[in-house]
Symmetry: C2
Subunit: 414 residues, 2 copies
């Protein structure tokens, strides 16, 4: 289906705000040039953003000989946004101003076995309370809360349909959260949050087609195609971690064998290390973070085992990324999440070499492969961006934006 | 980048015409409801299409109690479009009216070794002349010619950058054709032509996200994402045939090993047959078409070797398609091109089973897998659609649409 007029207006409003966030102050003329929209359209959209108090007039600039041009900038006082990163071992909450600059941060540790939905919800609620208090904000100024949950998310129903690590099935998470949090809530998968963070603030900004390869405990490939997030028909696009890399290879927790994740996720990298050198001092059997940290230090010290593990991992990743490059012909492939951040440039160099071996010449020549430049937790940032996009979508729908925003309640689960 | 106002207007104009082609006659009110555009926008776009003489007023319908509503339909007399399918063994040319109904057809055989650019161009020119004569049309009524060429196409320069089967490098095909054909010319890859044919007239129509798996001598996966063709940054998206399926597997002509194409392309299927039963009477060593035909007849007769070859082929395809389903979460996967058409339902059934074994449950449940319903040569149809889209893009640009349209000349090759 073509997008409706409302979709297009919302997308254009997002794009104008994104440009203003990227470079403030800005004139309507600059925004028209940067977006390709007409000056009249930009003026209308800027007016809507002013009405929403998301931006503000900040003065004038001289234009050569002509009338002085009005400048606008993000209205840092217009409200705040909260992003939540729910992970297997922690719940991280960050509060941002409307320019998506972090203002306060909280991290709650999740103890092993502490994984019932009510326990996770309690951590989120405590974290939200903590960042609002720390930032010295009134709760009424929170325009929305975005929440990243590792699992298959049904956004329409606000339900976590499945989360493998916690064995969650059909958990009505949005409803559980809404019992405690009277703000618009936006639930999604961390992979999509990271991808949106790259689109708005990272290596995918201004790019038509980008792939965000997420390397953590799990592995995924967030797709930013045509300048926007590609979700797929049931919001599960990006499950690249369960692409078969080695037929009849290592078993994967998804039930298949030889998946990318079984080789390039942190536990897979640990297994490669164990296979290469079972007694390696780099190996911390119960601690992924400590092992990946030790590998990074080993690479820096030119430890041959560490170098070989990175080379093996990059070889697997490179085969898989070459397939993505051939299939999607993206402008940029971004390596994101904590494993990529920890192993850094040495991993990137080996991945580039491996992709070059397997990809076709023409798409490979057209693709940059980079580390994520996002300096903060990309899941919190992306989740807060979902909340910002939600607030933009609601523009013109709410009768008065200063009244308490409605809570988006999900339907009760069956 | 967001799309510009011009892009959006062109896309909306295409969408309105597509709806009119799908169901004529139509009222502006029906078109507004079907597209989600405002009635005012639809009225403007319909006016542009009337000015272009692509559609025509065909009367009125009563609306319950209100004013009679004007109806429009495709103007079959508004001009004709030509689609060309250049393949390794033939050049097929079809002439269509503006509703994309075939009106005339020509096929020129290419003899083995007859593969120099001038020889191919001569076949195309002869075919175009033949279909124009056969349809009894004046050459001036041809609004555009779309040409599908198997290779890497640089559309901006009108150059075939690389065609493996003919060892073409940097062939300035558009320029060579324009020396003989004074019509707007649109060059692209057959994979993209097939995908556009499915988008406008086939199983991807009205779908947000579709994958068109092309099974012929070569193998590819055309991507229709967000309701439009996904080209990638250098127009090479869809090179799924060179995804690694079996590490260190069969050699592929791309230089790698174990590519999907080495198992699921017609020569790969022949190799599977030869490996299973070297003396099989189904095998016609030098003739792909005869072998695939014999396999299809063997399957119909429950020949165990034929059944096993289809099962093996579907197993390889299923692994690869499962990865596409996981990554892209499409609404529909379409099996297209001559191998899919010849092996038909028995292949489809086995592919569905294999995808179900390897794909994740949630995206698999959301995806239909179907055979292409396009009844004519999809490359000719898609190439003619490129010409139609080109004519729509030029709307409002040409001072008078009844004068001879300008030839799109490519820059000379270096």
């Amino acid at each position: 289906m073509r997008r409706t007029s409302r979709d297009i207006r919302t997308a254009n409003r997002s794009e104008v705000l994104r440009r203003i966030i990227a470079r403030s102050p800005a004139s309507r003329q600059e925004l028209a040039a940067a977006t390709g929209l007409s000056l009249a359209t930009v003026a209308t959209l800027v007016g809507e953003l002013l009405d929403l108090r998301m931006i503000t007039e900040v003065g004038y600039e001289d234009s050569a000989g002509g009338r002085p041009r009005g400048l606008v900038a993000v209205d840092a006082s217009g409200g705040v946004l909260i992003g939540v990163d729910i992970a297997e071992t922690y719940v991280r909450v960050e509060l941002f101003d409307l320019a998506l600059t972090p203002r306060a941060r909280d991290e709650q540790e999740m103890r092993p076995g502490e994984n019932r939905p009510e326990q996770v919800v309690a951590r989120v609620v405590a974290g939200v309370g903590a960042v609002v208090a720390r930032a010295g904000e009134a709760a009424s100024r929170v325009l929305g809360i975005g929440v990243g949950v590792p699992g298959q998310i049904d956004r329409d129903r606000g339900v976590c349909a499945y989360a493998a690590n916690w064995d969650w099935h059909e958990v009505p998470l949005l409803e559980l959260l809404a019992e405690h949090l009277a703000h618009p809530l936006y639930l999604d998968n961390p992979l999509r949050a990271c991808t949106v963070a790259e689109l708005w603030f990272g290596a995918a900004r201004g790019r038509e087609d980008a792939v965000v390869v997420n390397l953590g405990t799990g592995v995924g490939a967030g797709l930013a195609l045509g300048g926007g997030l590609h979700r797929g028909v049931s919001n599960s696009a990006g499950e690249w971690g369960h692409t078969t890399l080695v037929p009849d290879g290592r078993p994967c927790h998804c039930g298949n064998h030889g998946c990318v994740e079984a080789y390039a996720g942190a536990p897979g990298i640990m297994r490669s290390l164990r296979e290469l050198d079972p007694g390696s001092p780099l190996l911390h059997p119960e601690d992924q973070t400590a092992t990946i940290d030790a590998l990074a230090r080993g690479v820096a010290a030119r430890d041959p085992v560490a170098l070989e593990v990175v080379r093996i991992t990059a070889g697997h990743l490179g085969t898989g990324i070459a397939d993505l490059v051939n299939l999607l012909n993206p402008e940029v492939v971004v390596l994101s999440s904590w494993v990529a951040a920890t192993l850094g440039e040495p991993l990137l160099d080996e991945v580039r070499k491996a992709v070059g071996r397997y990809a076709l010449g023409r798409p490979f020549a057209a693709t940059e492969i980079v580390l994520s430049p996002v300096p903060t937790d990309p899941v919190c940032l992306g989740a807060a961006t979902f909340a910002l996009e939600g607030a933009l979508r609601s523009a013109g729908r709410r009768p008065a934006h200063r009244t308490a925003p409605p809570v988006r309640r999900s339907a009760p689960s069956p």
